[in-house]
Amino acid sequence: MAYRCNALLCTCTMCVSVGALNIKSKLEEEIKRFNLEDEVQIILTGSSWLCTRGPTLIVQPDDVVYQFLKEEDIPNLVEEHFLKGRPVHSLMYHHPEDLHPIERLQDIPFYHDQRLIALWNRGIIDPDEIDEYIARDGYKALVKVLQNMTPEDVIQEIKDSGLRGRGGGGFPTGLKWDFCRKNPGSPKYLICNADEGDPGAFMDRSIIEADPHSLIEGMLIAAYAIGAEKGYVYVRSEYPLAIKRLDGAIIKAREYGLLGKGVFGSDFNFDMEIFRGAGAFVCGEETSLIHSIEGEPAEPRQRPPFPVEKGLWGNPTNINNVETLSCLPRIINFGAKWFASIGTEKSKGTKVFSLAGKINNAGLVEVPMGITLREMVFKIGGGIPNRKKFKAVQTGGPSGGVIPESMLDLPIDYERLQEAGAIMGSGGMIVMDEDDCMVDIARYFIEFTRDESCGKCSSCREGLDAMYEILTNICKGNGKEGDIEFLEELGEATINASMCGLGKSAPNPVLTSIRHFRDEYVAHIRDKKCPAKSCVDLIEYSVDQEKCTGCFICNVNCPTNAIIGEKKKPQTIDKSKCIKCTVCLELCRFDAIKVG
């Protein structure tokens, strides 16, 4: 039976957590009530779009998109749209400025500038249906590789495409494969690094949840090129849905003979399994990851020898990131030249970012390399909520750095971000507004890396600890002259003396925030003031005696009874009792509560 309408419901981790599955049962119930079971089909897809606006539903062929769905919206939606063909405007995405509903998915600015290569199938196929993947040119690249190309041809094609590792380092993928292939050791291994640990990053998870077969096909192509017969996907246990979908996809691929002995009837053998990591941040570092698979404590070791020479169980091992591998089918299908025509001189293709923080359209974004941060934040991201002022963007998570407003026109590619002191990283992008204190943000990231440091190198273990202590003191108003210089010195030392990427990049948030926001550090230390009014120890609440009408709302609601005064007369705050909980600030309708 053919359906006339497909309702594509996003069931990524985030949408499920806000009730996508309840929406699904409600949809089924209502569709049945109107006898539309034979006409409307519900498809559960992976992450499809604006992740903070879930649960979302895309209706095809009308290309209409609905957001923030609630169960009580569904009866009306089914009757109006599915039965009567009238899309429901109140549930659509509204333009952030003129608040006009936007009907078609493609007209939403968030989508307009995106170009999908790694996310080719996002939100359009059911990740559990291998046939739908095949219908979107799936496994065609694998056939091409097996029938018409030698492993050397594949390596040359990837070299020509200019693809670089999407996990953060940006090492040319073709070159890495070449090293691994030419190494005489045997057997060789292929590992997919899906240990995504940056706070606020969810690219790898979304790719696996939305399109697990792209990853499997990419791994098959990579394994053929380097000559591996066994592959591992290292996923953290915090990603149960990704693991479930990938597991199901591997089983289907085996049934179809796409994994196992004699892939597609050729003499190429490859099989893969999922390795569930316990979620340590350091396992994103390749030598720690290898130790973890071997059953050893997850600690890095000195490189060289690099994993391509001496990796898993001492054998040549090629490690690629999820996104790198997921681009491969498209590069093979459309050619290296096509891929190399996208992006900048040294950074080719597209990059997936997870846009998070103080931004209207938080979500998963795939854009050509070389797009500016300004376009990213204001065009695709839709600007800052609540008319606040943009302050900075943190790229690359806790290993990256902050980029201030003055550098917003910076094109995003590996080299330019490095020059600015940040890194591409795996693609996390956290936007901060005027209410965010840069010292506090730096303290947050150092707290994270300090917790996650494996402790092997004393520079990382002790250095980050010392930096955390100093930053905490500054935020509490106990900073002293010389702290900034000491932080810089400690940061440099930690970078120089640590062995793996964790220690080598962990001081970046501190160093870049000092570089671009030194005056904020100075204000904390010298004036004991927090310019963003975020550090609670450095701010005081008071009542503007002229604006206060004595409406008493703050007085009644103050949890510590710190507000004193008579009704209809200006109030005052007893600073010894005030805990700066912001209750009065939020309740006051006369803008009379002053923070400073």
Partner: protein, 127 residues
């Protein structure tokens, strides 16, 4: 399912082509059945079923059938709008299952507009 051979990919693709065309919205023609309250009362559901049967029985894969709301001419319902790729849309009025079948044969499959049932060419202008 047995092990795939390379040529099986094309067979699978063909088998679910209709679903994918629907999802990508790239059909050869789009038929919109106007299903406002007026349309439903005048029998748009029968027209919809007729069209679905035609598509199903002839195993056509690249035509999109969808609903739309009231077209503003409630007295002439049931109505459909037929939009063959690269041609202006055509509105048909006062439909019956028989008329619908003729339109399906002539216009949608052969590209020949059925003038006697047509109301007008084009859609209303939108700002």
């Amino acid at each position: 399912m047995s092990k795939l051979k390379p040529e099986d990919l094309a067979i699978i693709t063909e088998r679910i082509k209709r679903t994918m065309i629907l999802r990508e919205g790239t059909g050869r023609a789009i038929i919109r059945v106007h299903m406002g309250t007026c349309g439903i009362a005048a029998g748009a559901r029968t027209i919809m079923n007729t069209l679905m049967n035609e598509i199903e029985s002839r195993n056509i894969k690249d035509i999109i059938l969808t609903t739309s709301s009231c077209a503003g001419l409630c007295s002439r319902e049931p109505m459909i709008t037929v939009e063959v790729q690269n041609q202006p849309p055509v509105k048909y009025v006062d439909l019956t299952p028989e008329k619908t079948k003729i339109i399906f044969d002539k216009h949608i499959l052969s590209g020949e507009i059925v003038k006697e049932y047509a109301l007008a060419f084009g859609s209303e202008r939108v700002p």
